[in-house]
Symmetry: C2
């Protein structure tokens, strides 16, 4: 097995060498910029690790791995427009640095490039790889739409919220692993179990993200703190708080949700105080651990030596204790 | 050979039966709406005609044909946002009827759906079909970016303009035919000649579009007249007019291009008068016919009986004398 940092190096090298120098540079420059902002490269790592789990060659999986990363960054680029976010990884978003039009179009071009890289999968598995990729790409769009719907909704049930983060975030982690497994020669049954592992870990990962938005270290998290609160995102914390609050606190929360004229920092501070009072952070951690455990159960069922699974387990664990 | 109107019926039936009823309906409803606005269905027609030219089965080509149409509509949907267009085929655009965010995201989902349909090509040719599709999809993005660049540029040379419309419009007509040819069992050489035919006819088609924007019948054209003039699009007419105008007329044109505060109809009327004075409409027609003739030369070289080519020739001719 190749060491994690070596896989990271392979991924970053490949991204740096992507042929993105064509004309017009107004189309390709934002793609280079956005891809250069870094990030954890979690999805391509999962593709390569999924491939290695079944003894596949990392080189066969590298182009599709970068394809998934390009797709993921395309969704971030368009989400940034929709969420009106000024920063991405502590740098100006593409629509801020250039324009909304440039962000729409260079995002579209990124998606095309992503498909091209996915199509460079070995012939025997390309059809199945594309099917998993496109199926889950559509789910990511559905998740983003549910997310936008829920911002405006007065009441969201927790199961709807969990389904939304599953679609928006978790399925692509699952798909990355399943694609890696297919490229590595796994049986369809094992590939699906690995998808399940990724999907569950992904839900846990997003719940951790909800927690970090409020309780994370701004420097390390690389995003402004409390953006979810400012934009009225119905995160696990908010939904649970609305469920648990007595009528007085309920009203205070609703007032903040309906406020149109407010100082952002005051809103963040007030809502965080309510979260602390109700203890929703611990409940979020508990829910997170349940999904994590279910993911681990799926991984256990895969017929591969425990030794080979160690890196994936370590990776999943690192997501649960991360600071960014 | 199946009659043209029968091919149209097959296409429209298939579009009407696309599985677009999933949740969330905010994502899928705009796709259904946009696809129901009609249009000439030129690209799927070209896929089917390309397939039939080589004796292929139309049923094998139907899903990829709809895939190209979905892709084309996805680009229109996003272009409408970028161009700030209120109407598409006499109906409100998606960003007007819903919102910019909905238009971005449902466009993205359309692109995923388009890829899914392309992947339903027969196994033997799917790799080549996807390669032609994605290669040209990227060119369409490049063309749109050049188009946006040229709106702001003071001077565009005619060859740059022709290259832009080639990328933005013509290559997808070429790709539709090439994909059809591949699905119909054509040799790669013949498939490329058919691409060439489509590309040249496509440039001619776009020049006709430039003419119709100014001189077309608003009811039949289905768009507001003079949109290109209002938005300072450097069409063939405008570029040629700037080239030919004496210093007085030149200044008048530049004043309209730089005006920020104007009555739209007055601008359209004044610029049209200059076009009439300089006779640029006839020059545009002449350029259009040159590309048309080169396209016909490519078609002639394809080793298929003249009888089989008749429908394609009639189709190309209909584009040259159309009113919409």
């Amino acid at each position: 097995m190749i060491a994690q940092h070596e896989l990271q190096r392979l991924i970053n090298d490949k991204i740096a060498r992507l042929p993105l120098n064509a004309q017009p540079h107004e189309l390709y420059e934002p793609i280079r910029y956005f891809m250069s902002l870094g990030g954890k490269r979690m999805r391509p790592m999962l593709v390569l690790m999924g491939c290695e789990l079944f003894g596949g060659k990392v080189q066969d999986a590298l182009e599709p791995a970068i394809g998934v990363e390009l797709f993921h960054n395309f969704t971030l680029l368009h989400d940034d427009i929709m969420d009106n976010s000024p920063l991405r990884r502590s740098h100006p978003t593409v629509h801020e640095k250039w324009s909304v039009n440039v962000a729409i179009l260079s995002g579209d071009a990124m998606f095309v490039k992503a498909c091209e890289l996915m199509m460079n999968s070995p012939k025997e598995v390309v059809h199945k790889v594309m099917s998993v990729f496109l199926d889950n790409a559509l789910k990511v769009c559905e998740g983003q739409q549910f997310d936008m719907n829920y911002e405006k909704a007065a009441h969201i049930a927790l199961p709807s919220y969990i389904r939304m983060i599953e679609l928006k975030t978790a399925v692509l982690l699952g798909a990355s692993l399943e694609i890696g497994a297919l490229l590595g020669g796994a049986s369809e049954a094992d590939a699906e179990l690995l998808y399940e592992f990724g999907r569950k870990i992904g839900i846990a990962f997003q719940l951790q993200d909800d927690i970090l938005d409020v309780y994370g270290d701004e420097q390390k998290f690389g995003k402004q703190k409390g953006r979810d609160i400012v934009s009225n995102k119905k995160t696990f914390l908010m939904i649970k708080a609305l469920e648990m609050a007595n009528s007085y606190t309920q009203e205070e929360l609703r007032n903040w949700l309906q406020a149109t004229n407010f100082v952002e920092q005051e809103k963040v501070k007030a809502v965080t105080a309510i979260y602390n009072f109700l203890g929703v952070r611990d409940l979020a951690r508990k829910e997170m651990m349940e999904h994590y455990n279910k993911g681990m159960q799926a991984l256990e069922q895969i017929e591969v030596s425990e030794q080979r699974k160690k890196d994936l387990i370590a990776f999943a664990d690192s997501l649960m204790v991360r600071e960014n």
